[in-house]
């Protein structure tokens, strides 16, 4: 664990904080959990950077998929799960396509998001997405602009999804209820008064 230096000054404390990696910072179970959920041998990452080099998020943000692989390998659970970058993956799977170790970094990210959710670590927009899927079947429901565009293209105004077949909504809600996602989303947002 990082040593507190006690400068009696919060700003200095932060600036000069102990950044050593101590073996006690590592939770080996984290890697095991990630491997189990992602079903990929995350420990086999050799840090080549092909994933970040392929990632459309990387050049636009501080998100480095490779670093999440590294944190998984070292069991840096708190660091990985509390990093807001965890939520910047677009799930395009480019990294998974190219990883020379035949790993699925995308699935590692998904696994970490899963684990983060257990600690209620999840960005608010994701929770709102859950609520939207629960009520409409869509993360991004159709809107008037889209409808007009679709009609212009000669398509029906609504796509052949729950928008056209609302009778499937109860099934979707059943799945979400099974995982208590809506319940948790409502609770977290309520606790924050949203």
């Amino acid at each position: 664990m990082a040593r507190v230096k006690d400068y009696g000054n919060a700003e200095l404390e932060e600036k000069l904080r102990d950044t050593y990696f101590y073996t006690t910072d590592s939770n080996p179970q984290f890697l095991e959990d990630v491997k189990k959920i992602s079903r990929t041998a995350a420990n086999m990452c050799y840090q080549c950077g092909t994933c970040t080099g392929s990632c459309p998020s990387a050049p636009r943000s501080s998100y480095r998929i490779r670093l999440f692989m590294r944190k998984g390998v070292l069991g840096l659970e708190q660091e990985a799960l509390n990093d807001p970058d965890l939520w910047l993956c677009t799930t395009c799977y480019s990294c998974t396509d190219r990883c020379p170790r035949d790993l699925a970094p995308t699935d590692v990210i998904m696994a970490m998001r899963n684990l983060a959710f257990k600690y209620d670590i999840v960005p608010r927009n994701f929770l709102k997405t859950v609520q939207l899927i629960y009520t409409t079947g869509h993360g991004v429901p159709n809107n008037d602009v889209n409808r007009a565009a679709r009609v212009k293209l000669g398509l029906p105004a609504d796509p052949p999804t729950t928008h056209s077949y609302p009778e499937f909504m109860p099934a979707i809600q059943k799945i979400i209820d099974h995982y208590k996602m809506k319940e948790n989303a409502d609770r977290i947002l309520a606790e924050e008064g949203q």
Partner: protein
């Protein structure tokens, strides 16, 4: 067939192997148990049975107790069977009166945490070994004479070195090369790391030597058609491909005095057919009658009959005196007899265009390392000027993609192994562009720089000091700017932790290597195994890296696994030394494990004959009856025929049915009546 069975007097010796065995099971209990077994007159143990005092125990016990069978319970027969056989022999017994129980690899190492279970299993193993020892017979190894000649397949630097060593050791050596010239890959290289000698300059003397060494029979443009026989006595059929051109000796054989190809090239001058030269990867033309390059050995032209239109212009140009060209030539066959063979068939490249992310064959300015060698080489298609294929401009920023398809577990064309010389040649390439092109900067995109050889790390230091840039990240993909044909290389600089998009004038892929496509056919002909990655398999990765599991066949160079020139030459010299031993000994001893036909039982049905994978069986007439006969030197003792014979007429020496049945009975009845 009744024999008076001698009384069994068996000695059992149990090895501790330090704590390898003694740490996992009770030696004392196994020894006490052994003493109770039928026929066992003495049981003993020792810390290291393979040591001199350990072996003395066996020798002394044979004499003291008048033993006629020895059992050692220790490690694997692969390791120490020869040791204990020798001790058995020194004690005065036939060395085949020895049986080994592998209580280490097959017991203590796998049951490390089960003391009781392992002890019980060791008792069973000793019981079974004693059951066999009681029935062992004296056997005499067979020795066969060895042909005083050798064959080397492949005329790259590895094959040439092996052939030169064999020939210089006084052995007649056939050097077989399928291309029209020897030299292999090394003759395509410009310079060689880490000393930067000119590749052709250091190779040509060897090429010349193999051409004129009195003990070397050089056969270029020749392939192996068939292999028969066994160590000491291989008969190999060669196919001499129709070359369309006679060398002076062949001309003389046809009565053309002073004729044959002298390499003047008058023929190629007049030949109207133009084809890409594969030696230059199509970057330079050649005619239908051609040589690869000026230093070929032998200096003799070859007609590419797939391209030749038989216009006859070359025949005319060649003239009445030399009369070297024969456009109706056909393939001919030759059989050679040799004692041992060395395979040195080299390597190929993966089809790197199938790793589409790097754009090879899609983008003009993406080339491979070997194409780079030709472009930077003074005798290459551009006279040594490195130019961009798209516009002939001189590149200033050149990217090198290391591990292009190597160390990659995605399957398809990718290879999981390290190709072992691409780090070093990429460093060499970096040096070459900085030397030749003022202001040029090489960028090496790498994961690790593997510069482990003698003076290699120092070479890395030198190139970095000369100004090469190293970016630690494997290249994710390359895009092309369609107007400039420049290339945008994407990766992450993992040391900075930043994604990278760098514009390069040219990119060189250090493409992974792989076995030759024909390696599969060759290996089957010569009875050699392959490792899981497809390279030819050595007999032992550490202790027998030049041999194979087929006696008399050896390996040299990259065909056994990726290696650079120093390692290739070293292995070639090792293989030549190993291959010369049986030849110089003049005879080889074969284990007497061959099948034997019991004539009085054999019905002469001949059904076993086609079963034998080694062609060792034949029907013969013997005293008016048809019976089967085994060519003992060909028999590998596999037991296929012995298990098959419907009449039970085939006896597998040292693995006879009674011996094996006794072992099974011993195990099932736990020492009860059998």
């Amino acid at each position: 067939m009744t024999e008076t069975k001698e009384e069994s007097r068996i000695g059992v010796f149990i090895c501790h192997c330090g704590t390898n065995i003694a740490g996992s099971l009770s030696i004392q209990e196994v020894m006490d148990y052994a003493k109770t077994l039928d026929g066992v007159v003495v049981a003993d143990e020792y810390q290291y049975m393979c040591s001199t005092p350990g072996q003395s125990k066996i020798i002394d016990a044979i004499k003291e107790h008048n033993l006629n069978g020895i059992v050692v319970a220790a490690c694997s027969p692969r390791l120490h069977e020869p040791t204990f056989r020798t001790a058995t022999q020194e004690g005065g017994l036939n060395k085949f009166r020895f049986e080994m129980a592998n209580i280490r690899d097959q017991n203590s190492w796998v049951h490390m945490h089960d003391w009781e279970g392992a002890t019980e299993k060791a008792k069973d193993q000793v019981l079974i070994a004693v059951a066999k020892a009681r029935m062992l017979e004296d056997l005499q190894p067979k020795s066969v004479p060895v042909e005083h000649s050798a064959l080397v397949l492949g005329g790259g630097v590895g094959g040439m070195q092996a052939a030169l060593d064999l020939a210089s050791a006084g052995i007649k050596t056939y050097l077989i090369e399928k291309a029209p010239t020897v030299g292999g890959r090394m003759s395509q290289l410009d310079k060689t790391f880490p000393t930067l000698d000119c590749s052709q300059c250091i190779l040509t003397p060897k090429m010349v030597d193999v051409g004129r060494h009195p003990n070397i029979e050089l056969r270029t443009y020749t392939e192996v058609e068939n292999v028969e026989g066994y160590i000491g006595n291989f008969t190999i059929t060669l196919r001499k491909k129709a070359r369309g051109v006679l060398d002076p000796t062949e001309a003389l054989e046809r009565g053309i005095i002073g004729g044959g190809c002298n390499g003047c090239g008058d023929c190629a001058e007049v030949c109207p057919v133009i084809k890409p030269n594969p030696f230059e990867f199509g970057m330079a033309p050649r005619k239908a009658i051609y040589i690869y390059h000026p230093q070929v050995m032998p200096l003799q032209y070859t007609v590419d009959f797939d391209a030749c239109v038989k216009c006859g212009l070359c025949v005319e140009a060649c003239g009445e005196e030399k009369r070297a060209i024969d456009l109706d030539m056909v393939d001919t066959f030759e059989k050679v007899r040799v004692g041992t063979c060395i395979l040195a068939i080299g390597y190929d490249f993966i089809p790197i265009e199938q790793k589409t992310e790097w754009g090879y064959k899609r983008f003009d300015n993406v080339i491979t390392g070997l194409e780079f060698e030709r472009l930077i080489c003074a005798s290459g298609p551009t006279g040594g000027k490195l130019i961009r294929p798209s516009d002939g401009q001189i590149p200033k920023k050149v990217g090198f993609v290391l591990c292009a398809g190597s160390r990659d577990n995605t399957g398809g064309v990718a290879k999981a192994y390290c190709s072992r010389f691409c780090c070093m040649y990429s460093l060499k390439h970096a040096h070459q562009i900085m030397e030749k092109i003022p202001g040029a900067v090489p960028y090496l995109f790498y994961m690790d720089i593997r510069s482990f050889g003698k003076m290699y790390e120092e070479f890395y230091y030198r190139i970095q000091n000369e100004g090469a840039k190293f970016i630690r990240g494997r290249v994710a993909n390359i895009l092309e700017d369609p107007t400039t044909k420049n290339l945008i290389v994407h990766t992450e600089d993992t040391l900075l932790g930043r994604p990278v998009a760098m514009e390069m004038d040219m990119v060189v892929l250090a493409a992974a290597i792989q076995p030759k496509p024909e390696a599969e056919r060759i290996r089957q002909m010569f009875g050699v195994s392959k490792s899981q990655d497809g390279w030819l398999l050595e007999a032992h990765p550490k202790l027998n890296p030049c041999g194979t599991t087929t006696a008399g066949i050896y390996l040299a160079g990259v065909c056994q696994g990726p290696k650079d020139i120093p390692d290739t030459v070293a292995q070639a010299e090792g293989a030549a030394s190993a291959a010369s031993i049986p030849i110089h000994t003049g005879e080889v001893q074969l284990e007497p494990y061959f099948a034997q036909c019991m004539d009085e039982i054999c019905a002469g049905c001949g059904m076993c004959v086609p079963q034998c994978p080694y062609g060792a069986l034949a029907l013969i007439d013997k005293e008016g009856r048809t019976v089967m006969e085994v060519t003992e030197a060909k028999c590998k003792g596999c037991g296929t025929c012995g298990g098959f014979c419907p009449g039970g007429a085939i006896k597998m020496q040292h693995f006879t049915s009674p011996q094996i049945c006794a072992q099974i009975d011993a195990f099932l009845l736990k020492g009860g009546e059998y």
